[in-house]
């Protein structure tokens, strides 16, 4: 049986959040380039956002961000969901990612991405998610895109580092794209 990540107390969750932000966001140059931020997470979901920024605009007339930002955000968000569902820091590689643009983004609004991994097998994991504009609580207000992805798990590179486990001195966390 695989071990579930446990965020039973606020202190553990805070430590996991710091690890994710350090390696998954800070350590991935393109995630930094689009200004990707971690909103919330659990073993069941991964929630990110990209605040509106002028350098990400793809439609100058309407003032909305380029679709490529959504692709990059959902790729990273799906990978995060897989890692948390698997419960180990490990390299996660995207096999395929489908994005349906269900409606046009609204001008100058933050884009949220939320994904959940609904099946983790030994070698692959399956993800669905959405890109959306959120209300003040971070809940879906207007859906912009639907995402479906399959990811490969690089378990050999995980070194059995359980997410949320006490951190042994002198180790660092996993890396992911």
């Amino acid at each position: 049986m695989r071990l579930q990540p446990r965020f039973v107390d606020a202190e553990t969750k805070q430590r996991v959040r710091a690890q994710i932000e350090r390696y998954f966001f800070g350590g991935v140059p393109h995630n930094r380039a689009i200004g990707l931020e971690l909103v919330d997470f659990s073993a069941e979901f991964f929630h990110t956002r990209v605040p509106f920024a002028e350098h990400l605009v793809g439609d100058v007339e309407r003032g909305v961000m380029h679709g490529g930002v959504i692709t990059a955000m959902m790729d990273a968000t799906g990978g995060g969901a897989v890692m948390l569902a698997a419960g180990e820091y490990m390299r996660v590689v995207t096999l395929d990612l489908r994005i349906d643009y269900v409606r046009a983004a609204e001008p100058r609004r933050t884009m949220h991405g939320r994904a959940s991994c609904y099946r983790v097998a030994h070698d692959v994991a399956f993800v669905r998610g959405a890109a959306f504009h959120a209300d003040e609580h971070g809940n879906l207000e207007v859906q912009i895109a639907q995402a479906t992805g399959v990811f490969a798990l690089m378990r050999s590179a995980s070194a059995g580092r359980i997410i949320g486990a006490p951190e042994p001195a002198g180790t660092d966390s996993g890396d992911a794209t």
Binding site: G27, V28, P29, H30, N31, R32, A33, I34, E54, H55, L56, V57, G58, V60, M65, H66, G67, G68, V69, T71, A72, M73, M74, D75, A76, R91, V93, T94, L95, D96, L97, R98, I99, D100, Y101, A104, D175, A176, T177
Partner: protein
């Protein structure tokens, strides 16, 4: 309706003059050229497109973005629609690790419709026969 001068640029394959106005395209460094009627999109290597430095891998999202943009430019160049074409959906398949070097994409129509078209896009680096990614996309014609 796009201004006639923009059509002139697109018809002539002078995409850079049109795309210079789009901040995201500038940030990503995308360039587009036409040879024998085929559009090639180029994403020059830059540190900010890296997804995993340890694994020497570009971010998957940047490959998807290059392919989506190349499909749209291919539609623009070949059909000169009245409005800008829009992506309905795209499925990206990641085939090989994309390492830290220049990346290219080319699109071809599998179906060219009056309102909706389907294109297959291939993304490669050194060897056109060893694509690093491929994509299928539906595009709403302008």
């Amino acid at each position: 309706m796009l201004p006639e001068e923009i059509y002139e640029h697109i018809r002539a394959g002078r995409f850079d003059t049109v795309l210079a106005r789009i901040p995201y395209i500038q940030m990503m460094g995308f360039q587009f050229s036409v040879a024998n009627g085929i559009v090639t999109g180029t994403m020059p290597y830059a540190e900010h497109i890296v997804g995993n430095a340890k694994a020497d891998a570009l971010h998957g999202g940047t490959l998807g973005s290059l392919m989506e943009s190349t499909a749209l430019i291919t539609v623009l160049h070949s059909t000169l629609p009245e409005k800008l074409p829009r992506t309905i959906n795209i499925t990206v398949e990641y085939l090989r690790r994309a390492s830290r070097r220049d990346t290219f994409a080319r699109a071809e129509f599998l179906r060219r419709g009056r309102r909706i078209s389907n294109l297959r896009v291939v993304c490669f680096q050194d060897d056109v026969d060893k694509p690093v990614a491929a994509a299928t996309t539906h595009v709403l014609m302008g």
